[in-house]
Amino acid sequence: MSKQSGPKMTLPTQLVLRALLVEPTQEMYGLQICAAAGLPSGTIHPILARLEGWGWLESHWEDTDPSEQGRPRRRYYRLTRAGAVRAQHALTRASTPLSGVPGLRPRPTGGGA
């Protein structure tokens, strides 16, 4: 059994990495990443935890006073320098065929289901 050298590159993971690689130095919080990746809110935390566990991402709390802002602090994410390079290579290697993604299969041209 070969040792895994990086996170599992599922299609949502690829979408998240592509969204983060648009501006690798820019920090984004969860809902921003969801919107940029085109994923539903509440679905990316496992992906972010996986990428952070592999050292591709780093995160920190927003440096503001919650009472002044009237809301809790946000958690901001950003690709690490090494993570950006590895993510770029991983996306280049990744070949997730659309036919392998449930719900994205092309419809049959005719006949029954």
Binding site: Y29, G30, L31, P40, S41, G42, T43, H45, P46, A49, R50, E52, G53, W54, Q69, G70, R71, P72, R73, R74, R75
Partner: protein, 243 residues
């Protein structure tokens, strides 16, 4: 020369003097009339010429010799000829005076109209000045209204955030309950972090106008993916322990 002839020439001479005085009176009247006619724009030079000829013809025999009266018939003809131009000149002057009278009335009417227009123009100018001040005041009011709307919008967002923080709505309470439940399913060391992260995302969604369905959907997706998140966090901790 007999006494009778002398008396006769003396009478002729008196008549001649009288006629000469009348002709001079006529000449003065014609001269005044011609001066006035020039002001009116009427050309009476032919009349003046006839008048001068008449005077000359009357003065000449009186000055030189009463015997030489041959010019008197010519003077009489001149006087007769003078009648028609004088009547014409009088008619012209009368017409011209009538025209001038009408023009004067028109000018007076125009002056009245001009006074009226001037009064209206002054009135309009005053109204224009007021309108210009009104426009500037309205511009200022519009600017103030825009600033007020912007500030009120900002205050409304802030007040809404504080109100939601103080009194979360029913949808947010239910979704917050789901998020809290999702946070309790992950390892204890990460629960506080993800609970706070879920809460701020829920507040952001509520501020953005997400309704009951959207917020509950968010909470449910968190809850469904909690086992996967727990697996990822444990795997990361194992890798950290190995490295």
């Amino acid at each position: 020369v007999s006494a009778k002839t002398q008396r006769r020439w003396a009478a002729v001479s008196r008549n001649l003097d009288r006629n000469l005085d009348r002709a001079r009176d006529l000449d003065r009247a014609i001269t005044r009339g011609i001066r006035f006619a020039r002001h009116l724009g009427v050309d009476l030079d032919p009349v003046l010429m006839l008048d001068r000829n008449l005077i000359r013809r009357l003065e000449q025999p009186h000055a030189v010799d009463l015997d030489r009266v041959s010019d008197l018939p010519y003077a009489r003809d001149c006087a007769r000829a003078l009648v028609a131009p004088l009547v014409h000149a009088r008619n012209l002057a009368f017409d011209r005076a009538g025209t001038l009278d009408r023009d004067l009335h028109c000018a007076l009417a125009l002056e009245c109209s001009f006074d009226f227009d001037l009064a209206r123009a002054c009135d309009l100018d005053a109204k224009l000045h007021c309108a210009s001040r009104l426009v500037s005041i309205l511009d200022l009011a519009s600017k103030l209204a825009r600033e007020l709307v912007r500030d009120l919008g900002r205050d409304l967002v802030r007040a809404s955030a504080f109100r939601q923080a103080a009194h979360p709505g029913q949808a947010e309470r239910a979704a917050a309950g789901l998020a809290a439940a999702a946070a309790r399913l992950i390892p204890a060391g990460s629960q506080a972090r993800y609970a706070e992260e879920y809460l701020v995302e829920l507040r952001d969604m509520a501020s953005a106008g997400a309704g009951l369905k959207g917020q509950l959907g968010y909470g449910l997706r968190l809850l469904i993916r909690s086992p996967l998140l727990r697996t990822e966090l444990r795997a990361a901790r194992r890798r950290g322990a190995v490295s």
